[in-house]
Symmetry: D2
Subunit: 328 residues, 4 copies
């Protein structure tokens, strides 16, 4: 930006830096989607085309932002997860700041607004662009679909898992309610108010019973995408041994601390192969070259879409690289 | 959102409230647009279709968000301005909170992230959607266009005007440079590096001279949209007398303070027709009905696109309703 | 601070910058003072020694921080006001940062925490130190008195005046209540619960009536310090003409912009004597030397303690330098 | 606070909430202490009385705020550590808010400003009050000592330990420099500038050599308080078995989640004795009664002052309750 006597106005831009070494979740939500779904006659309680469109837009976001490790969506919302790893620090390091300015180079990527608006905008662009693929008979007309978003930091792995569980429980509860509600309306011929009254105060088992006894619907047989929502992650499983083996090889070890921003490499003797990254308190077994390889692997890895349980340990234990942040 | 044992994770969502009684500017910027403009072969130094597309998307944003009073754009950026008036307070009032919670009902509209992501998303949606209208021969393909954004508060009218001047001076300086650079390259046959060296260290008059003497280009005759950028505002001029006359009519005066959040209307005797809004320190001459009328007028008003000087007083003096926030 | 491999932990310090061109009010409140006042047998409803001690500590704060223009206190609270003027920018300028780092040199004076903790600490230090002067018969013993504090930005002069009015109305309402309550207890022989019930639901006139009819107390005759609280400001009135006259003298004019941070002086021709400070939108008639003089004047000026009305215009009209920020 | 038409000004108070489940460190620093130490003729390079006074003030802070688990100080600075445990959540729970307001009840204890100003004020109060005990021959006179402060969140235990290491390395480096500098000045007769030049560019071994060869000072024999600074923590060691044994007793287990704010106790069957606190991802073996006991134990525990190494594992392994947050 060119200089001028008016440039002082930049002083009013306040920083909104996100705390380092935390999981960053950006969740986006459709704006005014109850009106929107009516306008485009979405199937109720779930419109498979609409969910597939959400997933396609989310997949595009994952591909454009290789630092994202995980995404979860249902209905008109999607959550995107940045690893609490060193990634953002490395970006920061590009600025080569003196130490005392490390906090606030404006526009740097770990500003809350930057992450949030980038994800919201990329998602919206694909949602609008891909619309005709999923709704060929329903051309978009203004007002167009849009999303808002927020970024939240979660300090521990457990906090992150609980966040994912929270969204998935929410999906389940809403879907059971909606499935029951629309069965009463569409198959039971009730008007919406009566259906609402009917369901008021019921618990899960009541709704299961209503579905089964009145409409012969076994909720357990409903499609997983409706009951569980959609999980997106990079599948880095195949051929991963070499990288790990390599990275544990002392000979390959770079004794610098790639995680520390703005610091010259550290060559003090005491740093043996067992030293730890001071930021995320894990052993630092990866050399710079391997970090680069790791990142490439992540970028190339296929983005997988699954409709599986995120609450139990199994998902995380079978895909350890998601929490560990290590491809391969 | 449904309750569950995981809901505690909401506690990690930190508020990012914007200071009341300030002008709020949300500026959005194209992400990676130098690559993008190459991919779609934008005309250099300015592509009129691209600017018209930006303006069309901005006009749509203005129409969807009637609280916006002004927008200014050039190149791949656009700034949107919310009046420092009572509007956001009124939204807040909907929550009917006890006084001590007035600050942070989550998701409320004056959260920085909410305003910013809403504008970024709406703009992106229209930009992608309208692309084919402006570039019919150039279908969009991934990676798609996207924008980031930020919200900044400006306390005084002068700060706001200086912000607008800053962007317009920036537009001028960049455009003069780009016009000269591309003349040297396209008409002068220079390679880009040589053109850059040629312009290095020159001041405005040097560039004007290069354009005129070598390429017979009189910079003053360049299109205003290139030199000044684009200003969007609502034109509430015609038939505006009645409303003003009305609003000064004591008989019509509502002695409540519509600007104060969460407070019952104030009927104390001392509030005569001269009382002031405690928030924005202007006389409060509008009754609630008139406020409503005012808002409707604003919503219906034509959004005007002009390419005019924002730095001198003339623009503001001829369109007093922009700073005053009073339609009519 | 010395460098070490652990220094990365500074990255976790997040900025908390205050918005420029706003009035900054730091309000401090006694922590657990109801217990504290019981321990030291403060007279009820008001203890003159305790108020004088608060005022003495506040006066010391005003003297140590010459950028403060106003303070107001009552009971166990005190509010300190920084002018919305250029002062904080000038401090920032000391850093000589490149423009893009203007926002967050850590530890700089306009960080919320820095202003707030400095005032809280200075106030506490004097309160503890001066205790024995005001309570010679009551030596302090642990737990000692302490205060918490907060900083709030107010964009307009009216917002600031309304803040001051808010605190003074609060003082009045509390004092009327307390005066009535303790009259019922001390003179009327009621137990505290009965007194509370008696006053429950009463309005001001009821309390005035109770005081007058039962205890022959005319509330209007109560000491002003109890009814109005205490206002502190610098009295720069005498001999102030020369400075103003001087400052309007074109010959003395420095065409630089002392208010703009990080910018070389501006020598463009168009800046005549009528140019305005871009930050606080006032004419810039003061040269650097005069600014210095102005500051010295402020530092030397007597700090005045008065018990006067802050709500009506009179206070502000007779002491124009408080809002204008111009000594002399 | 009493209601009035001015109360809208509270809307300008912006929240500054600290992220949950993180270690909170409040560090305070003496303001203008180089001038202050000259005024009161502090011994150089270290004044034992001054350090003892700092430690006494810090001990008082630890005693008044039982949620503090650790403190570390050297020179004119002190760092106070709140456990990342549930404590602040429990305070929050007192508000009994609906879930969607959980974030920002104003004045609540986990606001950055509240924690910071409370610690700064309490420390200052004791520093001023205890001064005469440590400097009986040197009565305080204005300007009085004061401190500023800041709060920083550290997400992981390793981040916290690195913070402590950072401060202790800083103490060591500064003390070695100062010891060398003052030896050159006081014993070597150099003027300060010459001493500074002499030390410029030297590394630790050079300074050790200067001290040893010229002044027969073996730096290793210097007092630990100078070399290591001062660590304060609660000693909950003795008789701690019963509590732990008890808390692991399933029969005593309360199946509610005391850590979750604003939620009714959870009695779902799946919570066996192995359930985890969702906030800090540790097993929840303590009943409410035991939590209460735990807190009492902490409050009663002796605050220990030691001058020991915080960088190696030993300190933390021998005092596991500091990181675990479990007394007993």
């Amino acid at each position: 930006m060119a200089n001028s006597r008016y440039e002082y106005v930049r002083s009013f831009e306040l920083p909104d830096v996100l705390l380092a070494n935390t999981w960053i979740v950006v969740r986006i939500d459709g704006r005014g989607f109850s009106k929107f779904t009516t306008k485009y006659k979405f199937a109720k309680p779930n419109d498979r085309r609409a969910l597939d469109l959400m997933n396609a837009a989310a997949e595009a976001v994952m591909k454009e932002l290789p630092d994202l490790v995980l995404a979860y969506g249902n209905s008109d919302e999607f959550s995107f997860v940045f690893h609490k790893d060193c990634v953002l620090f490395e970006r920061r390091a590009r600025y080569r700041l003196p130490n005392y300015f490390v906090l606030a180079p404006p526009n740097a990527a770990w500003h809350s607004r930057k992450l949030t608006t980038t994800i919201v905008s990329t998602f919206t662009s694909y949602y609008t662009f891909l619309w005709q693929t999923y709704f060929p008979a329903m051309p978009l007309t203004p007002p167009l679909p849009s999303f808002d978003g927020r970024a939240v930091c979660y300090p521990s792995d457990q906090n992150l898992r609980d966040y994912m569980s929270w969204r998935q429980v929410d999906c389940h509860i809403n879907n059971l309610y909606n499935t029951s509600f629309w069965a009463l309306v569409q198959q039971g011929g009730m008007d919406p108010r009566a259906a609402e009254r009917e369901l008021s105060g019921t618990i899960s088992s009541d709704k299961n019973e209503i579905l089964f006894s009145r409409f012969a619907i076994n909720y357990n047989n409903e499609p997983e995408i409706f009951k569980k929502g959609s999980v997106l992650y990079r599948d880095v499983r195949p051929n991963s041994q070499t990288s790990v083996g390599h990275s544990r090889n002392i000979a390959n070890l770079d004794s610098s601390f790639p995680c520390r921003p703005n610091r010259p490499p550290c060559h003090q003797k005491q740093h043996g192969p067992r030293h730890r990254c001071p930021i995320h308190s894990q052993r630092m077994e990866m050399s710079k070259t391997q970090k680069e390889k790791d990142r490439k692997k992540r970028t190339k890895a296929k983005v997988v879409i699954e409709h599986v349980d995120l609450i139990k340990d199994e998902f995380w234990e079978k895909r350890v690289w998601i929490l560990s942040g290590r491809a391969g």
